[in-house]
Amino acid sequence: MDKRNIQNIIALANELRWKIGDDFHDNLAEGIYADAAEIVEDAIIDKNRDRKERLDNKIDRIVTSRVWGFPIMFSILALVLWITIKGANYPSAFLADILLGDVRPMLKSFAASLNFPWWLSGFLIDGVYLAVAWVIAVMLPPMAIFFPLFTLLEDFGYLPRVAFNLDYLFKKSGAHGKQALTMSMGFGCNAAGVVATRIIDSPRERLIAIITNNFSLCNGRWPTQILLATIFIGAVVPASLSSIVSLGAVFGIAVLGIFFMFFVSWTLSKTLLKGEVSTFNLELPPYRPPDFWRTIYTSIIDRTLIVLWRAIVFAAPAGAVIWLISNLYIGDQSIAAWMIHYLDGFGFLIGLNGVILLAYIVAIPANEIVIPTILMLTVLVTGMHIGEGAGVMFELDSVNDTASVLKAGGWTLLTAINVMLFSLLHNPCSTTIYTIYKETKSMKWTVLASILPIIMGFVVTFVVAQLWRIFVN
């Protein structure tokens, strides 16, 4: 071949393009479809052309109807969340019993029989192993229930109808209707929610969905909310109302998260992301009976285990760090104590304390280990004799015991409210951050998605703390 000839061909193409004008693409697309129509004409006999007669359409008319559409949608979401939270309790307790109650002492005595020095067995078993075991015990069961349920709905074809029903609300905030689904997925796990944004094929709306997914209160944060609401908020009302009120408070936090999601989506679409390409279309595929067992199998493999693996990879070093900062001393205090000391001032300003801030820093791999870390650190700084020593995370079976530890750590109702707010509004866990980077392949958007919520968290807790101090105290 000859380079000059090639250049001639390209030049000729440019000239011809000028001649045939702007409509080339349209003409070609129309031409292809015209061919397709002719071929189909020859080959297909559709005895049932009227789609309205088909079952699909009948189902659609119900699930997108003005009367039934929303009740069906919310009850399905509520049902899925309820099954997840209720159903996860037993296997979680079972796993915790084995991994923390049985395996850990075994490892301990095994290490002792090998004459491990205290710091090595502390570092490996109380640090690394404990964090990993904890994450598995609290994370695996809910995800193993939530994702298959969600995937079944997805395979059946119901989820695109939800996107269709809700698109108008999301359009108002510059987002895509399918964000309703990635958001719901985020109630299970933000990392999985971020992966799920692949279904949004418009670049701008996909970025919005990725960056705002963290405003969905994930599985790792529901228990924190429920615990704190029960201890502190349930306590300010008469006992007969306490469970309703604390449940309402948790629900309120979740709704607040949805509000922030809409607000941030809107802001992003009007500012930073307004130049990204936006194309909307939403195909409503036919309903298909899901292949039950295969769906269960693949959703556990594809979603649950991948996310769990990432969490473990991040939890192991975090466990090590948690143990180390509590056991390494500078001068007469452990590193943890020093850090808590330095963080206390800022923590107080935003209605939290140094322990909480440090817990959120070291427990970045998983929200699940925030409360155990807080308890451990509180015991560490108050010098109480609960738990198993410095650097060993623990949880208490009784809510009252937990309450007394926290109160000894100086917690008030304001602290509890602000921790609930901060639990909603802080940086995504490291698994999610890593997933965001994987999905966007962009440092810029990953950093934005990580720091935006925590800045909002600081602002909100700060304002609440000041108002509280002005009006309540």
Binding site: M1, D35, A43, I44, D46, D155, L159, D201, R288
Partner: protein, 254 residues
């Protein structure tokens, strides 16, 4: 017309069931490369899983497979590498998915391209099929979801379809493993050259464009006598596709 021929093929002499071995992800030393293309949500991944024995998740969502998956199977002593391309509606646009799919068919030069289509939405699926047939002349149409089509009372004249498209057409219901043996046999026939395709080329094009395409594709053919898709490259040049222009300049097509 027989809408859904049952896989009695497994017992027939042509198909050698013992000759099939699913190799999963072991994609080393293959004899043929097979690309799997198709619209989103046509059960493409199910076909992929049925051929390779792998278990990729398939959702009832347009556009689930974003990355390219690879697998392998062995049939009658020949090893086939199977590449699952992202599901796309077309190859004319510029989204990432489409570029991955298009570049593989164009530059990866697969020995066979299997196009999975939804029998219920044939017309829209043909949009992609006709584009692929402009790029490659070794293709097999896998008419998937025949079970649903039957439920919807849609009858398809397989022979007429195959004749119009100029490539073999295999009806299948990949979920129930129906039609898969026939598909494998057909893939092997096309790969080995037993079946020669005469793919359909797009006809309904305005005169001035057809003229321009003719001039360009003749010139391209002169420079690259061995390529089957000079006409398609002409389309892309008229569209002003920079990637194709660069490919021409660097001579990747030879």
């Amino acid at each position: 017309m027989d809408v859904l021929p049952h896989s009695n093929c497994e017992n027939c002499q042509h198909f050698n069931a013992d000759g099939l071995k699913k190799l999963g992800v072991d994609t080393t030393d293959f004899d043929f490369v097979v690309a799997l293309a198709g619209n989103p949500n046509t059960g493409k991944s199910t076909v992929f899983n049925a051929l390779t024995g792998l278990r990729q998740h398939t959702g009832n969502w347009p556009g689930k497979t974003v990355t390219r998956a690879e697998g392998a199977f062995q049939y009658n002593e020949k090893k086939y590498k199977l590449v699952d391309l992202p599901g796309t509606y077309s190859l004319l646009s510029t989204s990432d998915d489409e570029e991955v799919a298009r570049n593989f068919i164009l530059f990866g030069k697969p020995d066979v391209t299997v196009i999975v289509v939804d029998a219920n939405r044939l017309e829209r699926n043909l949009n992609l099929v006709l584009q692929i047939l402009e790029i490659t002349d070794k293709a097999v149409l896998c008419l998937n979801l025949m079970d649903e089509a039957k439920r919807n009372n849609i009858e398809i004249n397989i022979r007429s379809l195959a004749k119009d498209l100029g490539i073999p057409v295999v009806p299948a219901s990949a979920r129930y493993k129906e039609g898969i043996p026939e598909l494998i046999q057909t893939i092997s026939d096309v790969a080995s050259g037993k079946i020669i395709c005469k793919p359909h080329r797009i006809k309904n094009i305005p005169k001035d464009i057809e003229e321009a395409v003719k001039i360009l594709s003749l010139k391209i053919k002169k420079e690259f006598p061995n390529i089957p898709n000079s006409r398609w490259i002409a389309f892309r040049l008229l569209e002003g596709d920079n990637q194709i222009i660069e490919a021409l300049e660097s001579g990747v097509f030879v």
